[in-house]
């Protein structure tokens, strides 16, 4: 899709893949040719992830693996890497994160975050000072400063809060899960139904990257109100939730990331 240089040292790009849209914002570009090559590699990697992991493609490796037509050893190495990460996320969340919905193999709750985190690393290693990549509502940052608005799930067009990544925050990631999530693809893995005591949305901020933030947001949304204690106890994770009635709560450490709003 579109790419442009709105100002010196800055590159922006919008790319459609995986059934959603990825918005790149790159700052601190001195060697533009090199960073553009990094951006192209990052974009190609997203399309490759879609080819391998799409559960909508009958010929993707993940679909064929789920059908028993391939063994993990016959898949590209990324498949084993993602499935290991999924298994770790399932353990960490006591089964609230799950890749098995209705008997199908579906790592969707983690794979996009993992792909975005990897894409940002590619661009950063090409010499860009600061990178912000939003993959369909989940954001991986590098460098900074960056400010990420959290969409208010109950008031379309409005923001519920703002997460701030000062320059010192490397690799901060912001993932949000909610019922608007592609027709409620988040299910209670214990019942196979949508979460009972549902939150309007839950945002998870992780300094370790979007793989963790995405999986944790997925699990936390499935948990509902129980997510508060779970996130509070997790290292390297903070949460911001909007409840079904429009109230909000945060974990205690979230204030380190909450921007001071000049209102």
């Amino acid at each position: 899709m579109a790419a442009g240089s709105p100002e010196p040292g800055r590159l922006r790009h919008v790319e459609e893949s995986m059934g959603t849209v990825f918005s790149f914002d790159i700052r601190g570009v001195t060697d533009e040719a090199r960073v553009r090559a990094g951006l192209r590699a990052a974009v190609a990697s997203l399309h490759r992830v879609d080819e391998i992991f799409s559960t909508f493609r009958p010929d993707s490796q993940i679909t064929r693996l789920g059908r028993g037509e391939l063994t993990p050893a016959e898949c590209v190495t990324e498949v084993a890497e993602v499935l290991d990460l999924c298994a770790a996320a399932e353990r960490e969340s006591d089964g609230w994160f799950s890749t098995r919905h209705a008997g199908r193999l579906d790592p969707t709750g983690l794979v996009k975050g993992w792909a975005v985190e990897r894409a940002v690393r590619m661009i950063a290693s090409s010499g860009a000072e600061s990178v912000c990549l939003n993959g369909g509502g989940d954001v991986q940052l590098h460098g900074g400063p960056w400010r990420v608005g959290i969409a208010d799930p109950l008031r379309p067009g409005a923001l519920a809060t703002v997460v701030e990544a000062p320059e010192a925050q490397e690799g901060l990631a912001v993932a949000t899960s909610g019922p608007a999530e592609r027709g409620c693809h988040v299910l209670d893995p214990h019942t196979g139904e949508p979460p009972v005591r549902g939150l309007a949305s839950i945002t998870v901020v992780c300094p370790t990257g979007l793989t963790a933030a995405d999986a944790r947001a997925t699990a936390a949304y499935a948990m509902g109100e129980e997510a508060r204690d779970w996130l509070e106890a997790l290292p390297d994770a903070e949460g911001f939730a909007v409840t079904a009635t429009g109230g909000t709560w945060t974990t205690t450490g979230f204030r380190h990331y909450a921007a001071q709003l000049a209102v």
């Binding site: 579109a2 790419a3 442009g4 709105p6 100002e7 922006r12 919008v14 459609e16 059934g19 959603t20 849209v21 918005s23 914002d25 996009k112 912000c132 939003n134 369909g136 509502g137 989940d138 954001v139 400063p145 960056w146 400010r147 990420v148 608005g149 959290i150 969409a151 799930p153 008031r155 379309p156 067009g157 409005a158 923001l159 703002v162 997460v163 912001v174 993932a175 949000t176 899960s177 909610g178 019922p179 608007a180 999530e181 592609r182 949305s201 945002t203 921007a259 709003l261 000049a262 209102v263």
Partner: protein, 148 residues
């Protein structure tokens, strides 16, 4: 940090304020003891009717007509240098002088109400996953259009 395209950001806020005008109108109407918010959310629809953008002074945003309990209301706000300088009801249940004075009084309140979005100055927006189609209506899409 210097922003290159502050105006688009303001538009996001201005679109959201269209419903605030409606709420304020409803508040002041006779018999309106408790405000039932407008039936429709402002959404991106209000923003799509923005006229030609570009000039710094006096941009006008026309909101979509919204059905309230008092009848259809449509508002137009003018934004100058990041502030709503004028708000008027182009369609109101009672288009007399009193309604016009109410909308005039609404301007400072609107600026206050819109501040959260205007002053947020965000680079990206995180929210529940959107599809390629949903992206078109998203706040992120508006940020991208402003930056590209």
């Amino acid at each position: 940090m210097k922003r290159k395209h502050p105006f688009r950001r303001i538009m996001i806020g201005a679109a959201a304020t269209a419903s605030a005008v409606v709420a304020l109108l409803a508040l002041k109407q006779p018999g309106g003891s408790s405000v039932a918010g407008p039936a429709q959310q402002p959404g991106a629809g209000a923003g799509t009717s923005v006229g030609a953008a570009g000039a710094a002074a006096g941009q006008t945003v026309l909101g979509e007509a919204v059905n309230t309990q008092y009848g259809p209301v449509q508002v137009r706000v003018t934004v100058t240098d990041g502030k709503i300088t004028q708000a008027e009801a182009v369609q109101a249940p009672d288009s007399d002088a009193r309604s016009q004075s109410i909308t005039a009084n609404a301007v400072p309140k609107l600026n206050q109400a819109a501040l959260t979005t205007q002053n947020a100055q965000v680079d990206a927006v995180s929210g529940a996953s959107y599809t390629s189609k949903g992206y078109q209506e998203s706040l992120q899409s508006a940020l991208d259009k402003a930056g590209l």
